[in-house]
């Protein structure tokens, strides 16, 4: 059985105390909330820490509240299960509930948190193995190794961003708050992510993600689909989220985001441009879907389950399916299990 290494552990009860502890040695300290990602990673020695700070004792980090502008603010340590079953989320942000409900298994959702899902470590077939296995290939560049086994001539790491709440929250234009000893800053969630498998977050090591905020609903429609081998537990190999605002016949604004296709969530710029000002119908959907597959960043590599070529093809089918669902067109596709 894999065991945790020895480390120091704190459970502060206020954000101030947590940021102060974190500031002492941010590089060798890790934050934990649900522990569904960190603990297994530490057991497999993917991540090491001299100190682990639990955020679970901080009451103000948990819970969902309405904001003054009519949106929702979700505390970083709110469990995925709590979000999926929240009535306000279900009513105004149903596609978020769908996305959150697609994560892993009920047990993990009961413990795992939204903050953890947003900060989820990037993943790769050559990385997510036990220590002995990785040692036998001399590790990879995401650890102490020299090369990327997925693309041996590549100077960078291609590990995959697979937080399933990310694409839909980006599409909705969510904002996050990062707090450190020196103060707080707010930024669009999309700016949290960097296109690098190793250094995949723009969050500084001394910062704590405290909250994610959704704008007030304004008549938008949204949909989320996720592709994976099994109907639960598995990480996605592709997730597609779309949120569209259509005042009249045509699309005023639309956001389409892909997850699990690269080291960072991908915004389908060309598909979005092709849809704005047009009605969403069979033809425009087909065009937007084809563009999504060709878009920058949407080129899956052989470092997750399934062949990358097939995953590439699926981008088109899944973007089309999500746009169809958003537009209220008939499904005509085998839907993911989480859709039922």
């Amino acid at each position: 059985m894999l065991r945790l290494p020895v480390f120091g552990f704190y459970q502060p009860s206020t954000i101030e105390e947590a940021t102060r502890l974190l500031a002492e040695n941010p590089a060798s300290t890790r934050l934990v909330a649900g522990g569904t990602d960190l603990w297994p990673n530490m057991k497999r020695r993917h991540q090491v820490a001299e100190t682990v700070i639990s955020l679970r004792g901080i009451a103000e980090l948990t819970g969902i509240r309405e904001t003054s502008d009519g949106g929702l603010a979700i505390g970083a340590t709110t469990t995925l299960a709590a979000i999926a079953s929240d009535l306000r989320v279900g009513e105004s942000y149903r596609a978020l509930a769908t996305a959150v409900n697609s994560i892993s298994s009920p047990l993990v959702r009961n413990s795992g948190t939204i903050g953890g899902n947003l900060c989820l470590d990037t993943r790769c077939t050559y990385y997510n193995q036990n220590e002995e296995w990785r040692r036998s290939i001399d590790y990879c560049m995401k650890e102490v190794g020299e090369i990327c086994w997925v693309a041996p001539s590549s100077p960078r790491c291609w590990a995959v961003s697979s937080g399933d709440s990310v694409p839909i929250l980006c599409a909705w234009g969510a904002e996050i708050t990062l707090v450190s000893k020196d103060g707080a800053r707010t930024l669009p969630l999309a700016e949290l992510f960097r296109d690098d498998g190793i250094d995949y977050l723009s969050k500084r090591p001394d910062e704590i993600l405290t909250e994610v905020r959704l704008p007030a609903p304004s008549g938008e429609r949204a949909a989320f689909w996720k592709l994976r081998r099994r109907g639960s537990i598995d990480f996605g190999v592709l997730s597609v989220a779309a949120v569209g605002w259509c005042g009249g016949e045509t699309t005023d604004r639309i956001e389409i985001w892909l997850g699990s296709v690269g080291s960072t969530p991908v915004r389908c710029d060309e598909s979005i441009a092709a849809l704005i000002g047009k009605p969403i119908d069979e033809d425009t959907i087909a065009e937007a879907a084809a563009l999504a597959r060709k878009g920058e960043g949407a080129s899956p590599l052989g470092n997750t389950d399934f062949l990358p070529q097939w995953r590439g093809k699926m981008i088109e089918h899944y973007v089309a399916a999500v746009l169809r669902e958003m537009a209220g067109l008939p499904r005509e596709r085998l839907a993911p299990r989480h859709q039922r």
């Binding site: 059985m1 077939t125 997510n128 036990n130 036998s136 099994r230 699926m314 089918h317 005509e332 299990r337």
Partner: protein, 768 residues
């Protein structure tokens, strides 16, 4: 000495009389209309609460005082010879209590797959053991390797074996050798080859006479057992005697193995305890090298040692179902009768060649059969028996041939099967499966839309009523307590529960009134859980022991009360006289002069029955997305018989388990080997995909209750048969949905899209 008597056999409303010779001392089998209070009811399994609340103690939970921890060093190379092993640093590490090496213990200096055992240590903590293992220095002579069937069969392939071991060996019909493993006897081989040629000619002639001739090439993957509890032992020595807590499906097998004077352990007396085991599926008959090393580490360390495999070790080294390559040909007469059938098949059981056969020539009447089978060595972890060994892979291919044969003469697949099947039970099962799956309902099929549906059928067969060599002890105590004991294990089929049920039935007691004890070799001899024989072997002995205990108790009552014994019985917690309750069971026990009535009865030999085999038919319905290639199994109807049903709910659970594992085999599970490094790429339960609850189809189980004879409980084995048909039924359903055959499992989206692509090109050819 046997007693000849007439019994009723059959099922449903139809029974016939059969004259059988019941062994001396046995009692007649259950008969239709027998007044049974427990047998045939769905009692909740006795250990259900212990299992779900976590109080059940598995091997991993055993913590004898002073426990230390064992760890195995495994080869990182797929094919190597061990030149030398330096354990001095590991031995010198503080907290290390014992170090052993494979060349010393097993006299084996080869490492023929990545994961082979090289050395083992025992230390005061898992962390120290881990560190010590890393300090062992091994000098390997690294050799080229083959990890796939194709690589190994290729011309000029690196040799997997040593000495004169060829990569490919004909295993059936087997070549005669001068001695075991020695040179082939040339004369015997020449006449064997001549006979094989004759057979080929006979079958060729029949193909020429056939109206329809179909051919196919099929492949199946390696499936690992993936039990929730990994293999391993906790071993504790008392002088020369060994107490072994083992994750086992053969407690007495472990005892023999670890106590054998020819084995490396050679304990004087061995007691094996396995009250609960977290799944075996055929892979836990032997203590394995891990068990031997665990025992020997404990002896050398002078402390109890726990050596349990981790998940990676479990997936690479603890057994698997071999893969297969099957080339089949079938000739069918115009009326749908199969005239001839040819099989050429290959399978990889690991570094050896035995045990990779595919049962692709059974179930139906297949006419003249010409079958040649080969074993192929690969540098991979070895096969172990896996739930119906050889059957799911063979039937996957056979059942597709059945569909193709039906098509070749324009028959409905089910009608075609019935025409070539005379099984007394299965012939009654087809129409039930057909109706329950809605076989004849209109569906969008044949690849005619983005989402298509299809149905498929497949059959299974099993052949075990259990057998001799098992004893059960029943003790009735003066205070009214009743014990039922057998030392075998329960790998999940419900042995503990049904053993209690049949004994309690004889004693006229509710199940809760008897205490059942299993999984301890100090109790009477029991079977290994193989061939689905456990319940068929144990229950007749348990019933007989219960019956004899009842007679002994009634003799006491008759004598003390002066009642005629032939008027007495036991039912519903009471002694009955002419059917009326006259004395409570407890009060009857109080009449005993001795403290206990102790009865030890043996399982008697089998006799004739309604059918020597039990049967099943499964139908699957699937949904396929023809653009993404994704497949969903919507429903599986599983019609099955297991002779007389002692506990229908437990029987149903076995069918559900088999079908679930079969659906996973059809769509998800596969061992992936890296051809560059020769390692298993997915040795964990994240990347090795087992079927999850969400992906499990609706499973409708229809059980036949067959008064079969053969033993006093008429039980037939059910653990294995349900997995036999499932993958085949699913594959046939996918073919029905997309209009083109899928010849390889697991059925992945890529294979579906490739098949659809083939169909496009086939249609193109027709157009030319």
């Amino acid at each position: 000495m046997t007693e000849e008597m007439k019994i009723k056999v059959g099922f449903g409303d139809t029974f016939r009389e059969l004259t059988v010779r019941i062994p001396d001392g046995d009692i007649p089998p259950y008969q239709p209309g027998d007044p049974l209070d427990l047998v045939g009811t769905s009692e909740i399994r006795l250990d259900a609460v212990a299992k779900v609340t976590g109080t059940a103690e598995f091997t991993y939970d055993r913590q004898p005082k002073g426990l230390i921890y064992g760890k195995i060093l495994r080869s990182p190379h797929a094919n190597a010879n061990i030149r030398s092993i330096d354990v001095s640093q590991a031995r010198a590490l503080e907290g290390v209590r014992a170090v052993l090496t494979t060349p010393d213990v097993f006299e084996d200096s080869t490492a023929r797959y990545a994961g082979a055992e090289i050395a083992a240590v025992a230390a005061d903590s898992e962390a120290i053991a881990d560190e010590a293992v890393r300090m062992i220095e091994v000098d390997y002579e690294v050799l080229p390797f083959c990890v796939t069937i194709d690589d190994s069969m290729a011309e000029g392939a690196p040799k997997v074996g040593r000495g004169n071991q060829e990569n490919v060996d004909r295993v059936s019909p087997r070549a005669r050798r001068r001695r075991r493993g020695g040179e082939i006897n040339a004369d015997a081989e020449a006449s064997m080859v001549a006979r094989m040629k004759e057979r080929e000619k006979t079958v060729d002639k029949l193909f020429a006479k056939s109206k329809g001739v179909v051919e196919g090439e099929f492949r199946t993957q390696v499936q690992t057992h993936a039990p929730l509890e990994t293999h391993g032992v906790v071993c504790d020595w008392d002088g020369k005697n060994l107490l072994c807590y083992g994750s086992s499906q053969a407690t007495f097998g472990f005892k023999r193995e670890l106590g054998s004077s020819r084995g490396p352990v050679g304990a004087k007396d061995v007691r094996v305890i396995c009250e609960y085991v977290g799944g075996g599926f055929g892979s836990k008959f032997s203590a394995g090298r891990e068990g031997v090393l665990g025992a020997m580490l404990a002896r050398e360390a002078g402390k109890p040692v726990r050596l349990m495999l981790d998940r990676k070790e479990e997936q690479t080294s603890a057994g698997n179902r071999p893969d297969s390559l099957q080339k089949l040909k079938m000739g069918v007469a115009a009326d749908g009768t199969i005239l001839a059938y040819r099989v050429r098949s290959w399978g990889t059981p690991g570094t050896g060649t035995g045990g990779a056969g595919a049962h692709n020539d059974g179930i139906y009447n297949l006419g003249e059969i010409d079958k040649v089978e080969y074993g192929v060595r690969t540098n991979c972890g070895g096969a172990r028996a896996h739930r119906a060994p050889g059957w799911p892979q063979g039937v996957f291919a056979l059942e597709q041939m059945m569909d193709m044969g039906a098509q070749s003469v324009g028959l409905d697949p089910i009608e075609f099967r019935k025409r070539n099947d005379d099984h007394p039970i299965r012939t009654a099962q087809y129409d039930i499966a057909r109706e329950k799956i809605g076989w004849d309902r209109p569906r969008v099929r044949g690849g005619a839309a983005t989402v298509c549906r299809g149905v498929g059928v497949a059959s299974n067969l099993w052949f075990s009523a259990g057998g001799r060599g098992t004893q059960v002890m029943v003790r009735v105590h003066k205070d009214g307590q009743v014990e039922v004991r057998n030392g075998a294990q329960d790998i999940g089929t419900g042995t503990r529960t049904v053993m209690g049920m049949v004994a309690a039935e004889e004693l006229g007691l509710p199940l809760a009134r008897v205490r059942t004890f299993i999984g301890d070799t100090r109790d009477p001899q029991g079977p290994g859980s193989g061939g689905s024989t456990t319940i068929g072997s144990i229950t007749p002995a348990a019933r007989l022991a219960g019956y004899v205990a009842k007679q002994r108790l009634l003799e006491v009552v008759a004598a003390r009360k002066n009642w005629p014994i032939d008027q007495l019985g036991l039912r519903r917690g009471h002694v009955t006289r002419s059917g009326d309750p006259v004395l409570s069971f407890d009060a009857a026990c109080q009449l005993m002069e001795e403290d206990v009535i102790e009865v030890l009865e043996s399982r008697k030999a089998n006799y004739a029955g309604f059918s020597d085999t039990n049967a099943g038919v499964q139908c699957a319905e699937v949904e396929v997305d023809t653009e993404t290639g994704e497949v969903r199994v919507i429903k599986v109807v599983a019609v099955a018989d297991a002779g007389k049903l002692i506990n229908p709910m437990l029987a149903e659970s076995q069918v559900r388990g088999g079908v679930s594992q079969g659906v996973g085999y059809a769509l998800l599970e596969r061992r992936i080997m890296d051809s560059q490094e020769g390692r298993m790429v997915n040795p964990n339960l994240e990347m090795y995909k087992l079927l999850g609850a969400v992906d499990c189809p609706e499973i409708e189980v229809v059980l036949f209750d067959v008064y079969n004879g053969k033993s006093n409980t008429s039980v037939m084995g059910l653990g294995e048969p349900p997995i036999v048909a499932t993958a085949a039924a699913v594959a046939n359903a996918v073919s029905d949905a997309i209009g083109v055959r899928i010849t390889e499992i697991p059925i992945t989206p890529r294979k579906v899209l490739e098949a659809l692509g083939r169909k496009g090109s086939d249609t193109g050819k027709k157009g030319e």
